[in-house]
Symmetry: D2
Subunit: 356 residues, 4 copies
Amino acid sequence: MTSAGEANVVVVMHTDATPDEIGAVLVRLHELGCGTEVSTGKERTIIGVLGTAIPDLAAMIETLPGVDSCVRISKPFKLASRDFRPLDTVIDVGGVRIGGGQVVTMAGPCSVESEDQLLSTAHAVKKAGADILRGGAFKPRTSPYQFRGLGIEGLKLLAEARSQTGMPVITEVLTTEDVEDVATYADILQIGARNMQNFILLEEAGRTGKPVLLKRGLSARVEEWLLAAEYILNTGNRNVMLCERGIRTFETVTRNTLDIAVIPLVKRMSHLPIISDPSHGTGKWYLVPTAAAASVAAGCDGLIIEVHPDPDRALSDGPQSLTFENFEALMTQSRAFANAANRPLWSDYAPTRVAT
Amino acid sequence: MTSAGEANVVVVMHTDATPDEIGAVLVRLHELGCGTEVSTGKERTIIGVLGTAIPDLAAMIETLPGVDSCVRISKPFKLASRDFRPLDTVIDVGGVRIGGGQVVTMAGPCSVESEDQLLSTAHAVKKAGADILRGGAFKPRTSPYQFRGLGIEGLKLLAEARSQTGMPVITEVLTTEDVEDVATYADILQIGARNMQNFILLEEAGRTGKPVLLKRGLSARVEEWLLAAEYILNTGNRNVMLCERGIRTFETVTRNTLDIAVIPLVKRMSHLPIISDPSHGTGKWYLVPTAAAASVAAGCDGLIIEVHPDPDRALSDGPQSLTFENFEALMTQSRAFANAANRPLWSDYAPTRVAT
Amino acid sequence: MTSAGEANVVVVMHTDATPDEIGAVLVRLHELGCGTEVSTGKERTIIGVLGTAIPDLAAMIETLPGVDSCVRISKPFKLASRDFRPLDTVIDVGGVRIGGGQVVTMAGPCSVESEDQLLSTAHAVKKAGADILRGGAFKPRTSPYQFRGLGIEGLKLLAEARSQTGMPVITEVLTTEDVEDVATYADILQIGARNMQNFILLEEAGRTGKPVLLKRGLSARVEEWLLAAEYILNTGNRNVMLCERGIRTFETVTRNTLDIAVIPLVKRMSHLPIISDPSHGTGKWYLVPTAAAASVAAGCDGLIIEVHPDPDRALSDGPQSLTFENFEALMTQSRAFANAANRPLWSDYAPTRVAT
Amino acid sequence: MTSAGEANVVVVMHTDATPDEIGAVLVRLHELGCGTEVSTGKERTIIGVLGTAIPDLAAMIETLPGVDSCVRISKPFKLASRDFRPLDTVIDVGGVRIGGGQVVTMAGPCSVESEDQLLSTAHAVKKAGADILRGGAFKPRTSPYQFRGLGIEGLKLLAEARSQTGMPVITEVLTTEDVEDVATYADILQIGARNMQNFILLEEAGRTGKPVLLKRGLSARVEEWLLAAEYILNTGNRNVMLCERGIRTFETVTRNTLDIAVIPLVKRMSHLPIISDPSHGTGKWYLVPTAAAASVAAGCDGLIIEVHPDPDRALSDGPQSLTFENFEALMTQSRAFANAANRPLWSDYAPTRVAT
């Protein structure tokens, strides 16, 4: 993540560190394969560590005798960083371009429950301006007694909905065994919040070469999230998009706390597109349209929204799912803010894509 | 908070609760002055508690023998709730109307540092479209060794800036002793996040009758925040506005986590205006304009923004303060989203107020 | 999780709910297969829902017209609950009994790095009184550039250490593909914090029939943790132990916040043994022995401790690893508190097990 | 906090920083009154900043052109730090020594409710081995409709209880106006969690010269807590003790999360005594004795426990208050662990103090 010769750790020795202690730190750093640059001041010695790729070097050195503190001064991720690739990554999914300056909308039910439910939703969200169809075939559930999805059957229904509407499909993959199946049927593989640090799954998903949407973990710091993206990028797959879906905090009046400021922050730190998920971010259907509008104003590259023909009867996430009518209202509201930002909705920008 | 006759607690007895245990719960509730309504089912007894004003009644009853659970089913705040007053509260501050459907902008330095600094900032933010001047005369500081403000001298400078620009003034009051002085010089009294539950200060500020801006505490739940507002409202002062300024979470890449979803949530739960503070909400100047835009899209009634002629030399909050130029950019961006929402900036809506 | 006939949800209707609204709620509940019990009071109607196994029923019903609130009144987990099995679960691992009233100690390096490192550590911790050897062969790492373990080679070294010391072995399994290998070599399968809600892994691990140690997720609530345990128990595997390893909070001075009170809380809610991990719980070697002592006083059934021959050179978790000498000090300190609680260390209680 | 000549900030310049940028940083530092020490390496320049007392210097410098990062390398508190005073502070309160190696117990009701309630509790806790009587006369309450204490009347009852039992008295002071009254009647002034950063109150309390117990704020980092203590110490009052009372986290099954590891951490960072409050730390009476035992094992200098003759009828904090019988059980359990640690309960160590 740093070019050779660039220090990314600074070791500050105690004012009373002995030459032996300083020497031992240097020996240890050289053993670890790091270059060093010693600055000897009147008061104390400071050691710059050059070009290391050891992410927890600071923690490893800090415990040595004579070391006052040890500070990382550059970021531990590389492929995901904007330093590495200054221009925005644009991902083409069946003709829909994510990250190219327009706002893409992904919508559909939390879980695929039946053919009717999925197809009616797919047509309705398409008509309202959605670009990509979402729907869960494999569902992670907090309790083993909850509905866990239709599995392969759900994937096939998603493919059918794609062929009827022309919308590419995004769906979650839960485990390495399912990666091949999901990659066969879906256009984007979704990694859920609970799996953000399931590193083997990240690599398997990456190796398919398919676009991957990586949700932020419930308590993941931005740096950890970008490092998780790094796992996928490191397989050679450049088609990674991030998804802010709210974090877990002390506040329980909303299901999660949508961390709106990470949208512009991630755009600054990374070249990857960022999608906002106000459905999980708030957990309450009546907050979703406004949180979507705020996300557009914050500069997100897309939205992912849960929609259900009858939220009261949804087998999962009913309280945060929109009716068709409320989803239309959301699109109207988002359109106004997207236009105000000169970042139109993709379905307005590329209207030929909307033809059914 | 509930009209007489409305239950706000439900006591669910164990399926094997004895008549004596049920009786003891009823006796205890009557001692506490509560009416009760007993529903005897085949399986268990449920007691509805009528018209109580005891906020922690559920906790008090839950420990009694035979009680399975005890649940509060209505909100413990009253004067702040939208049920109590369905229409939006509109607060007139020197002709600027907060909560009336337009977006009001408060701007100025974190701390009043000198006459030059304050006056140059006041004129600059006024020119860019700000409606109200902010500036701290009394500063709460984490360390006793930090700059704590100019005190009364700062209040006088704020009054001078008001007379030069026509902008009303908001400033923080830290302690009951200063309430009278601050109320003499300022148009809005600000209660800071650290003092959100300094209940005696809330009441003293309330009794001045002046408008009060109540910041959310670092780890305050929405209900606690509205209950803190209730303290002020309970003094008879109806001119209370809330301010979301970010909460403390595990994420440290931003100073705080701006909780964007509470803006529409508070508008739904309460009739009080809500102001967003993206300066404290993010802690990084380069995120402030975007977070302000998102707040406008989320429906806030106003913004409060830190601006400094030279942020690198600010005695407090430099990293989150905008230059004059960046503040102008923020106003341009916010205007676009305010117009998209048909909620124009106050200075555009009431342009005669802007004349100097 | 509730026997038939027991209500676990209470639906409170609005005071002005119409008979039609009440009827619609009842119809919906019957569709969902729930029995109901209607209590009609003077002021409002309350519906008890009987014997349901739908965990998010409350959320599903709450959105129906006329419903004021809907409250779950019993726990959504069953097999893990103390109601289900009042007596403590005791797990026998190669003669070491976990959960039987004595304090079991698991110790060893974070990662298996080499034969020398592992064997020297194994002999040292055995000598100091450890009962079970820990060591990671497959390591989940935040960055793809970090050391990820020796894999199968590491498992073989653990087996070698077991045959030399007689200590059973615990090691982490990261992915379903590795479950069979890990189960072949290890005596306890560890599910790490990042995988607490990797439900498919939980089930695969459960199906081996081997004892499973389930670490609490970084931001998992106790109920979610017990539901994750429920996934394992639901496979028919009763040998599940929980491990508190600190949660993620706003405080960063320690790596995590060791949630000491969940130890007695989990003992009250569940029959499963609970192990404390003060190494991850604090992240600082100099806090580990005291946090271990506090855990023993709090009633944990065991400790899991990271020990390394030379923590400064550890490839992972050096800052929280103890030297052999510090581990001996930890054992001395823990012994004193274990004896004070009349819950002796297992190695003192069953000294014949310690013979090499 | 640093002796003159010791750097406490390190400024790391970009590798491509110009001489002008380096010069501008030096000029700015000198303007701020800081000495500097420049280390010019092959790759980049690092500036050590000497002997500064400006706590947010790093944030102020970080925004200057050419600066890569700016890192604080020593602690911003001084008087509270163990570097400043290596030996434990011992506070004598009416003959009870806090911080001297024994475990002191403070106990009594949350609120003083009546003469009977207070006196019966005082005699009961004294008999069970408590050293100091707690009781609230001024109560901070989340809602304005809750019981807010007896005020001066409560203080007089505490004084009466002291004269009957010989126990010194601790009570909370909420506002500067009450400092004089509270200091007249009480032996220790308690600053509550909500007021931890009410800096003017800290100073007023400090100036009385009376011992002050400073509770940690709900979301206060350890450094902020020690800086709050610094405000009191800075008035010349050395009799400050800290109190861990649980922090606010995502976990709601307990009222707060008792942060057990800060007990040994604070003992390492500071010379001040630390008291544990397991009543607020857990919020559930049935967890209090075990959490108290764990606190003793963690090395706390004392406990503060809520006790009530009839917790079900307590006007505040009933769910976390112990009956007399449960308090006796707590003392028995704590005694065992205190003895195991060779840090006996004060009432056992100084039995003559217990005579009534």
